[in-house]
């Protein structure tokens, strides 16, 4: 029914099957929109957050998806600025993932901040001394960049390309894409850093407070490094997942290995930096504020296991796997290592958001636990459903993986060779 919209030479499932696939995600998105609507109409009393526990599931989700979406800027940087041409095979996917992550984060932030009719205040009356302002501006700008980067991918749709003005605009815009890649890198570096900086400057929260360089706490640099490290891993992981779901080869194995190697290298540097930072924090920063670091881990479930899991299990271990060529060459190691790296950065953002607020900092304060309300979970799920829907439509109608067609021809020939040999 929609064949003329699908790229030539690629195979997609039938329209009814596709509708069947998207239906539950639409249902989930509708449920989430209802939950988000309740929060916007009735207020944040619909959530389990309060003045004491002001950051919850949503901020954790924002931080995690923005870190995972870093694959968009970092892949663009590697391809267009450092000229790693092999990454052409995944750049479109990285842009779609980035767009989904950033737009999803913006939507959740809009619900979290509330007062949507006054959303423009943050741009019109910015506090230029606030890292949150920097984050808001950078994310908004980068989302604009991602939307512009998505336009050429959209206009390459088989049907849209038949419109001369779309074809020409796509061609001309693509010629300038390196400018957008450069701007995207600049913006991403700053907002990833500012997100980390948000926590590092919290002098009243010694669990998160860090020293650093000039006005930038160490978390500023750690967030940049960790996002750059897991961005390629997330692109790898999603590509593998799409390959599994669609039962198609979409990129060459060497590209996934390259992503793994880049991720492993940066992850190793991150683990080293994070370990040094943790040592300085345990031995100097935290005691100087009157809190021995062990105290933070006295409240369950946040024991020292979480620190070890973050640095060793989800940091050092995947880094070592991704840096070992023999292991990296095998999917059974490569994919779990990428998944562990992604889980590691999500855990880091969870710790920075939830554990920071759970730990008491005043003598009359108490340890707090927080469980998100169903409205919070619903909104969270809506973002996940939205991501799946955007990616599914993009995969079906746009050329997300340019090498797919040739790999299909190759795969078909490889399947037929034994048949032909048998006939002879």
């Amino acid at each position: 029914m929609d064949k003329e919209f699908i790229a030539r030479g690629v195979r997609r499932c039938s329209t009814p099957k596709f509708l069947l696939w998207i239906l539950p995600w639409i249902g989930l998105a509708a449920f989430g929109l209802y939950a988000a609507g309740l929060c916007l109409v009735k207020g944040l009393n619909q959530t389990n957050m309060d003045n004491r526990f002001a950051f919850g599931l949503w901020i954790f989700l924002d931080l995690a998806v923005i870190a995972l979406g870093a694959g968009a800027f970092f892949t663009g940087f590697l391809l267009y600025i450092l000229k790693l041409d092999a990454l052409k095979q995944v750049i479109n996917s990285a842009v779609v993932i980035g767009l989904v992550c950033y737009s999803g984060a913006m939507c959740v932030l809009a619900v979290d901040v509330g007062q949507p009719l006054r959303a423009w205040f943050t741009f019109w009356y910015p506090n230029v001394h606030s890292m949150l302002t920097e984050v808001t501006f950078c994310i908004s700008c980068y989302l604009t960049v991602l939307l512009v980067e998505y336009v050429p991918i959209l206009l390459r749709n088989r049907k849209l390309r038949q419109v001369p003005s779309f074809l020409v605009f796509e061609f001309e815009l693509h010629k300038l894409i390196y400018v957008l890649a450069g701007v995207g890198t600049f913006l991403s570096f700053f907002h990833q850093g500012s997100l980390g900086g948000l926590y590092g400057v919290l002098r009243g929260r010694p669990f998160a407070f860090r020293e650093g360089l000039a006005v930038w706490p160490s978390t500023f640099f750690l967030f940049i490094l960790s996002a750059a490290a897991v961005g390629p891993s997330f692109v790898l992981l999603t590509t593998w997942l799409v390959e599994k779901i669609t039962r198609k080869r979409l990129v060459e194995a060497r590209v996934l290995e390259l992503l793994g190697r880049i991720s492993g290298l940066l992850l190793a540097v991150y683990v080293l930096a994070k370990s040094l930072d943790t040592l300085v924090w345990i031995n100097r920063t935290s005691p100087e504020t009157g809190f021995p670091a062990a105290q933070y881990y006295a409240w369950k479930p946040f024991g020292t296991w979480i620190l070890l899991a973050e640095i060793v299990l989800f940091g050092l271990v995947p880094a070592l796997i991704l840096l070992t060529p023999r292991l990296r060459a095998r999917r059974a190691w490569l994919v779990p290592a990428a998944a562990m790296a992604c889980a590691g950065v999500a855990l880091n953002r969870f710790v920075m958001t939830i554990q920071t607020l759970a730990v008491p900092t005043l003598s009359f304060d108490r340890y707090l636990s927080y469980t998100p309300s169903w409205q919070e979970v619903g909104t969270f799920l809506a973002v996940a459903a939205y991501g799946v829907l955007v990616y599914s439509f993009s995969f079906r109608y746009l050329q997300i993986f340019p090498a797919e067609r040739e790999l299909r021809f190759e795969a078909e020939q490889a399947e037929e060779l034994p048949v032909a040999a048998g006939r002879n």
Binding site: K3, E4, R8, G9, R11, F123, W124, Y125, P126, V128, H129, T133, E134, F137, C141, T144, V145, V148, R161, P164, S165, L167, V168, F169, E170, F171, E172, L173, K175, L176, V179, L180, V183, F186, L187, P402, R405, E406, F409, E412, Q413, E416, V419, A420
Partner: protein, 275 residues
């Protein structure tokens, strides 16, 4: 945000932060506006077809973008840097000057006729200069056997300008809808069809037909052999209702009829250089 806003102060933080923000916005806006402006100029200059081909050529697999001199064995590996427009290629001029293209003994390749009185485009169209100064454009034997008897043919109106590597005409067959690339720059003066053995008669621009980008003579045989290999790779071995190429023989008149289960749109797209 702006100096007239309540609470606005000119200080270093404001200037640095807002300066950086506005510079970024200006760069993004300038990039989009520049692309729009370039597009407007390109559309006004009638470069759509040229751009379409450059875009398509970029999307072809590396193996399909090889230089014609790879086909004749003068290079092991070389990607065409001019999107199959050898008129711009200095290397081609040097090689042709050093070793002019010879004439083969016969015009039959793999049981298909490739007459030597014409020039061949890599997208399976041919151009034959006529005594009256026009150029006749047709589909070569392999291309004809790929599309068999087309379901429909979309020809340009007389008076339409066609450009080398731009769309000459479109053919629809068995779910495939492909454009055929023009081997010549000029103005369409007459249209033909399948039954007439040619599709267009074109008056070349400036009354001069320049065939430097087209294959001829001894170049035809190695090119067709390579095309047959590409075709074999594009066709599924399973599901064929006739003898397959690997079994020998010559291609049948309507190859598509022998592969009812093949994705004919993909096969034609690959062979006729429309990714």
């Amino acid at each position: 945000m702006l100096p007239w806003n309540y609470g606005f102060h000119w200080n270093t933080g404001t200037i640095v932060f807002m300066g950086a923000f506005y510079i970024v916005l200006a760069i993004v806006a300038a990039t989009v506006l520049s692309a729009l402006q370039r597009s407007r100029r390109a559309l006004a200059a009638g470069k759509t077809e040229q751009i379409r081909w450059h875009s398509d050529f970029h999307d072809l697999p590396a193996g399909d973008r090889v230089c014609r001199h790879v086909l004749t064995g003068e290079f092991q590996h070389r990607e065409c840097p001019h999107a199959f427009d050898c008129r711009e290629c200095e290397k081609h001029a040097q090689l042709i000057a050093a070793r002019p293209v010879g004439q083969p003994a016969e015009q039959e390749v793999c049981g298909m006729e490739f007459p030597l009185d014409r020039f061949y485009h890599r997208g399976h169209t041919w151009a034959r200069p006529e005594a009256n100064g026009t150029v006749t454009v047709g589909l070569d034997e392999l291309g004809s056997r790929l599309v068999g008897t087309p379901d429909s043919v979309e020809l340009p109106q007389p008076g339409t300008r066609v450009l080398v590597n731009g769309t000459a005409f479109r053919i629809r067959k068995r779910g495939a809808d492909v454009r055929l690339l023009s081997p010549v720059d000029g103005e369409v003066v007459a249209t033909g069809g399948v039954s007439r053995g040619w599709y267009l008669k074109v008056k070349p621009l400036e009354r001069r037909f320049d065939p430097r980008h087209l294959l001829r003579g001894a170049e035809i045989h190695p090119w067709v052999m390579r095309e047959m290999e590409r075709l074999q790779l594009a066709l599924p071995a399973e599901g064929a209702t006739c003898a397959t190429l690997a079994d020998g023989g010559v291609p049948v008149a309507d190859i598509g009829a022998g592969y009812p289960e093949a994705d004919w749109d993909a096969v034609c797209g690959k062979m006729l250089l429309e990714p």
